[in-house]
Point group: C2
Amino acid sequence: MAKEETLYGVGVGPGDPKLMTIRAGEVIRAADVLAYPVNGAGTSRARAIASALIPAGVTEMPIHIPMRSEREPARAAYDAAAQAISDHLKAGRSVAYLCVGDPLFYGSFMYLSARLKGAHKIEVIPGVASLSACAAQTLVPLAGRDDVLSVVPATLGEDELKSALAAADSMAIIKVGRHFAKVRAVLRALGLEGRATILESATGESERITTLDKFSDETIGEEGAHYFSTILVRRKELS
Amino acid sequence: MAKEETLYGVGVGPGDPKLMTIRAGEVIRAADVLAYPVNGAGTSRARAIASALIPAGVTEMPIHIPMRSEREPARAAYDAAAQAISDHLKAGRSVAYLCVGDPLFYGSFMYLSARLKGAHKIEVIPGVASLSACAAQTLVPLAGRDDVLSVVPATLGEDELKSALAAADSMAIIKVGRHFAKVRAVLRALGLEGRATILESATGESERITTLDKFSDETIGEEGAHYFSTILVRRKELS
């Protein structure tokens, strides 16, 4: 019987292939199977970032997770993907699962590792988080010294948003997309609109950076601010 | 007159040199001047991580920032360092300032960039944050789906700690060190001790990972848990 192999969760960073780590490159080049999440149209940001490193002819395993509000379809898809990965590992084939940013920071890999840890050897290659890229592009510090940083998904309700932001010195609001109007209203109510910077598609081709008080609703377009938009807020200056 | 050059803030990642990005390597190899923070004894973790890439004979600029509770000595040291860096840039020499982890996530670079932006071209190369390495070592997710993540320095007072943790689903308590007893008491009071994992020196040689309820005070040693210790807490399981 073949030796059981390792599952790697590989962070490929925020978008620029040069923001991949040396270790990520090693693992991608050596893995027997490359798995990655795909959207409904079958395309994968993670695969696109790593594409120059992917050996010709390697076995690829695109994984589609339905992203609806009901969780059951997603759970069933993770179960099936975990089973398929487990079969490869038992047959002695290493599997690298590619993740945009960092695998354990708002990624899908954690749902696979929760199902497979204990049964299989797992190694996570941490990556540069998209949030760090946002900070780099704007030169807005994520957090300094004794700052409390809150990372808050814009999907929360207005009251939850307010309480999540209440105790923080620095705030990063992610997944802004169609929640833009709600987020702006909350920041305005908290007196923080003038201290907020919005980034659309950080490090992507359509990147745009604006302070929130100069950001016109008209510039958002019909679909609302891009799904990957991020708002960074600092309550006070560095001291 | 020489062409003005760029200041690079370079994240060298959490400790393993293979967790540096390709772009960080390029910048370190090409810079005219390498600057980095040093501790009171004159040693630099950031330089140690990058050491294999540092060209022989490059100009080096160790920067010591006094880390006392009064801020004035630190401010004066940042002012002097910013001036020295500015002189190099004006003379046409590029400067790379090396940072452990990510430059804008609890690093010293933000105090230099705050002084120099506007006057000089600045480029930040984001890095893998130490927190991502902690998550990778433990397989404890930092945050998933609609989780609110609070990153909280253990230096805060007990009440501030409690309110910073109150609204969060996931918590990362950093700079634990001599604040260990206070942090454990707060987590115990919040009913979260059994959901906490402590890491000492993640990815370092003396790495140790324990769930907090099994972590004996005796194992901390006279100096308290290591300064770079981190506690990760998740209020609930992934769903």
